[in-house]
Symmetry: C2
Subunit: 317 residues, 2 copies
């Protein structure tokens, strides 16, 4: 965006992801954030939760002053929230029955040049645009938890999204938050990329616990004391290339091919839909026994450590 | 081990893993390391490579003084290397035709109380012990690259390994290197646990690159800016438990079950053995284009960052 470009960002739906997104957009000191959510206590919700998502340097900024200065505007109708928007981003319920008509309606009330983004983790733009006149303006911006700290934003266009929309979204996030890292996914696939990798690991992790190979606690310990740190610092391919000897990734595949194939043939195929659901209760019970019945969420200590790991990633060695 | 216990560690086969293991065992100031390797230039090899694996604090210790003081003893025969051993650890070639007769021979020349460990990444103890009289003393100690820094040691007994051997191995490594983290794998499965999780990710990563969904560089970027840091700080189950809302892991599975199953059904099934090997050359070529034809290995800068991430993990928030 040009240096003198100021944005009017309409956020539709303000849950945990939405409030983190609001904090992210607020990092641009010239933008105005328009909020529309159906919950009756939306103002209280913002007062209660937004401060925890603001950057440490701007924690002093009170929500009251953000509202009184007009940087945050709370709307009671979709139409007014979107009427001046340069960007409309939705974080509503994860079902197509909600999103499809919503976008058709937004298209009618937002300026014709507004950029349309969905924070969905699973519903591709091609489905969300089904009832729209112009399908070229919408793309997915999929953040990772906790979204105000975790750098990744998966930018997922449909085949109808114009390339200038993709470029704008990447440019916008790089400029608003240098820590954040937009990555373009070139084809719409289930789970995009991050969650496909994560769910491949989750499936095998649940399988190994259910088979009695390892406990929940020990599996987590294994991840934390090997692959997690490795992948925090080098990604999948770069790590195998570095660890594969002189011939790098090629050498790794050649040397390990029998072992890798043996593992691939043996990976667990547990399912959420077939008759055998023993794994599900067994694993869940062990997670609850290990980490407590109800979740404490992400603690502040963990968030501070996450910021430190990200700082090390980008430091010059 | 008791405080007054001193160890005579025989290391059989000294490649990259072996030399890292030597450095690890040397952290116990009272132990003697006996080395046996068939290479003619073994002494030069140790002089050239061991210093890089010693702890920063003991870098001043010269290899020459470790040899002249008798802390490292280089042997030209398996028999003399093992004759006084309290621990025999092998890092030889990864094939059963080498390991099976080796252990049968070691059993004859080592003291009857010696502990037997294999650093294999894939050949289970139950196969390695096939020609031994007493199968209860051998277990797998599978380290992760780079083994002198990466904390994980997968301790994998066979069904014949005695539980006291498992306990001894865990106690030994905890005492010699408080940073290292032995985890017991309860059943012998292909790839143990760490590599199963890693190869599940690798398979999907190669599939997504081959399908043109994402580039090698972007996939690595995705891993580094989301799952890597997350799993460095919280493991798989703990992370989903923290991120799943009030109901933790149970809530996560309930909310996301359709998306997770959709991804599981869609995961790539590329293979090293079937007719379609297009992915292999395609992905390898892209890795080499991205990171250079030959690998630089793990740089000192990366190792320093790894130490920092591990320090953050274990710090009090």
């Amino acid at each position: 965006m040009a240096a003198n470009e100021t944005h009017q960002v309409a956020l539709i739906g303000l849950g945990t992801i939405g409030i983190a997104m609001a904090a992210l957009h607020l990092r641009d000191p010239t933008s105005t954030i328009h909020i529309f959510d159906v919950r009756a206590d939306i103002e209280q919700f913002i007062f209660a939760h937004l401060p925890g998502f603001l950057e440490p340097v701007s924690r002093g900024t009170s929500v009251a002053s953000l509202i009184s200065s007009g940087r945050i505007k709370i709307h009671t109708a979709l139409e007014t929230a979107c009427s001046l928007a340069t960007i409309v981003q939705e974080q509503g319920p994860e079902n197509i029955a909600f999103k499809k008509p919503l976008w058709a309606q937004i298209e009618k009330v937002a300026p014709p040049t507004a950029h349309f983004w969905s924070s969905t983790s699973g519903i591709p733009a091609s489905e969300q645009t089904a009832a729209m006149q112009n399908k070229s303006r919408l793309l997915v911006v999929h953040p990772f938890n906790p979204p105000h700290i975790m750098p990744l934003l998966e930018i997922v266009p449909s085949s109808s999204t114009s390339s200038s929309e993709v470029e704008f979204a990447c440019r916008y996030f790089r400029q608003v938050s240098p820590r954040h890292c937009p990555v373009v996914i070139k084809k719409e696939v289930s789970g995009f990329v991050g969650n496909r990798l994560a769910f491949a690991v989750l499936r095998e992790a649940c399988y190994l616990v259910e088979q009695g190979v390892v406990s929940v606690k020990d599996l987590d310990q294994i991840m934390m004391s090997s692959l997690g740190p490795r992948w925090a610092l080098g990604g999948v391919f770069e790590s195998y290339h570095a660890g594969g000897g002189e011939d790098g990734f090629r050498g790794f595949l050649n040397k390990l091919e029998a072992t890798v194939q043996e593992v691939w043939d043996d990976l667990g195929l547990i399912s959420m839909t077939n008759d055998n659901q023993r794994w599900r209760e067994y694993v869940t019970a062990q997670v609850e026994e290990t980490y407590g019945q109800s979740s404490l969420g992400q603690t502040n200590g963990k968030k501070a450590k996450l910021r430190e790991v990200l700082r090390i990633q980008s430091s010059t060695p």
